[in-house]
């Protein structure tokens, strides 16, 4: 007799636990406000990444097309996997002295791990991380970028 009571009560307690679980899912289906989905391409306008978010490395340029990179290669050294390549050239200054400036600041986005070490190592705060995260392109070669804009110059007073 005891066994039968135990058998039947075990069925009811089992059903009770099942209903408990169904109550949780039932709660959520009846509360559509709890939905967490974000409709991504549609919410581009309102979607703003956090300030600290590390999207990609950019070389900041002023309005007069001047950057702050002296070509010291500190970032190139700090980078763990050769993402950054600095190609320098020597130009002749008006006073006849030769000066080293950057020719190309090559950035391989496909290799970057976004570790932020280059930004920390830069002595002149020339580079920073942008919040852009839409990196998808159709051709891998487009991921190799030259960060200094054409005809850009070193900002006055940065050395």
């Amino acid at each position: 007799m005891k066994a039968i009571v135990k058998y039947i009560s075990s069925i009811f307690s089992a059903l009770k636990t099942l209903f408990k679980g169904m109550a949780v899912t039932g709660h959520y289906i009846s509360h559509p406000k709890e939905i967490i989905t974000q409709q991504y391409p549609e919410n581009r306008e309102t979607l703003k990444m956090f300030d600290m978010f590390r999207g990609e490395v950019v070389l900041t340029h002023s309005e007069s097309n001047e950057h702050r990179c002296t070509g010291c290669s500190a970032c190139e050294v700090a980078c763990p996997n050769g993402t950054i390549e600095i190609i320098n050239k020597r130009i002749e200054m008006p006073d006849g002295k030769k000066k080293k400036v950057i020719d190309k600041f090559v950035y391989h986005l496909s290799m970057c791990t976004f570790c932020n070490l280059c930004i920390l190592s830069c002595p002149t705060d020339a580079i920073k991380m942008s919040q852009d995260f839409e990196h998808a392109v159709f051709d891998r070669s487009q991921l190799t970028k030259v960060l200094n804009k054409p005809a850009s110059k070193l900002m006055e007073g940065v050395r």
């Binding site: 307690s13 089992a14 636990t17 099942l18 408990k20 679980g21 109550a23 949780v24 899912t25 967490i36 990444m49 956090f50 300030d51 600290m52 978010f53 590390r54 700090a78 763990p80 791990t113 976004f114 570790c115 932020n116 070490l117 920390l120 190592s121 991380m129």
Partner: protein, 377 residues
């Protein structure tokens, strides 16, 4: 049983063969590229042989050419679910070599973020565990709560998963002004949502049938296999590094080491759920008054460790993570060895899975909480 059946033509007993199955490297419940070679009889497992190497990136070798600051971002990519703790281990080991003492602020922030990482890892594990059992809904509920933590990381550390927030000598940046507010809001939110986890899965009769008494690991076996973390603690093996070798701000906080005696899958599940409560209480103790001060101590641009050997272990979400550095005095280590928790935990799999069904193997693997890149560095 097939052993008694005879061939009707010859009268000889039929030959039986063990059923051999490759589970993985591509399989939904190996959570990565782990390959298990199963020998079955019907649905009963005779032998499980894990094969590694599908995601080997030779991280330890790469560390030998990198500087100490560069090594840290590689550890993100081992156990990506407890990346902050991995970073912390390397940072602590290097700081140990440099003999610098961290400011209180750094210690407290590191501890808070470590506990947040542990919470997010356990939340993901809970969701995935439900999914492995066939209750797919839990996956999304786990991710909903994890998303709040990930947002905190993104705002303060700049990345969602591979944060790289520690540097030898402190932190990469100071915390974001919103950090405290957001973290408090999260803890408040999650204190309400965690009972829901219990309601959905823990008490469920099917869930209890699937986990209770499955994959039992005794305390002796746990110790001899070197099983650490929640998996070991579910077998009664007290191994919490935060208690036994406290680091960062753990000496200041009060928390319980969650221990259970059963050693089955249900115990491992309960230990992790309970650890989430403990983590929240640790965060609550620290978040109110983060001490003022520097977020970083001044170190040389290129760190050189004095000649010698350094070992530091931390408690990640999976168990004891150790970093062993041999320095020859240069800017990069002569040899660096990681003791990853997942590797030792996986070694107990065959022992636990003998004689259970295929469905139980999935449960056991899930309760070991394997992260394959952690096992296969």
């Amino acid at each position: 049983m097939a052993e008694t059946a005879t061939n009707t033509n010859t009268g000889k007993p039929l030959e039986t063969q063990e059923y051999f199955i490759n589970m993985g490297p591509q399989h939904p419940s190996t959570h990565g590229v782990l390959r298990l070679m199963l020998t079955l009889e019907g649905e009963t497992i005779h032998n499980v042989e894990p094969h590694l190497g599908y995601i080997h990136r030779s991280i330890e070798k790469m560390c030998e050419k990198d500087t100490y600051a560069q090594i840290i971002h590689l550890t993100d990519r081992m156990d990506y679910l407890s990346s902050h703790m991995n970073n912390e281990a390397v940072s602590l080991a290097v700081e140990q070599g440099l003999e610098v003492e961290m400011p209180e602020r750094v210690k407290v922030i590191r501890t808070i973020i470590s506990e947040l990482t542990r919470l997010s890892s356990h939340q993901l594990w809970w969701g995935v565990f439900g999914m492995d059992l066939g209750a797919i809904t839990s996956f999304l509920y786990g991710f909903r709560d994890r998303e709040m933590i990930i947002d905190i990381f993104e705002e303060t550390c700049g990345a969602r998963l591979t944060m790289n927030y520690n540097v030898p000598g402190g932190l990469m940046f100071d915390i974001h002004p919103n950090f405290q507010k957001r973290t408090k809001a999260f803890v408040e939110h999650f204190r309400q949502k965690l009972p829901e986890y219990d309601q959905l899965l823990t008490g469920n009769v099917i869930f209890e049938m699937r986990t209770k008494g499955i994959g039992i690991l005794s305390k002796e076996d746990a110790i001899s296999f070197g099983v650490t973390g929640p998996t070991g603690r579910a077998s009664g093996f007290s191994n919490d590094v935060r208690k036994h070798n406290p680091y960062s701000a753990y000496p200041q906080v009060e928390f319980n080491e969650v221990l259970r005696e059963e050693g089955d899958s249900y115990a491992r599940y309960k230990v992790r759920i309970q650890e989430m409560w403990e983590s929240m209480s640790i965060i609550e103790q620290l978040i109110e008054n983060i001490p003022e001060g520097d977020y970083k101590v001044k170190t040389k641009a290129v760190i050189k460790l004095p000649k010698g050997e350094y070992y530091q272990k931390v408690e990640t979400a999976r168990g004891e993570f150790g970093v062993y550095i041999i320095s020859e005095g240069g800017k990069s280590p002569y040899r660096l060895k990681f003791r990853s928790p997942g590797f030792s935990n996986l070694s107990a799999l065959n022992h636990m899975a003998k004689g259970v069904k295929i469905a139980d193997l999935v449960v056991i693997m899930s309760t070991l909480d394997l992260v394959i890149p952690d096992i296969d560095r």
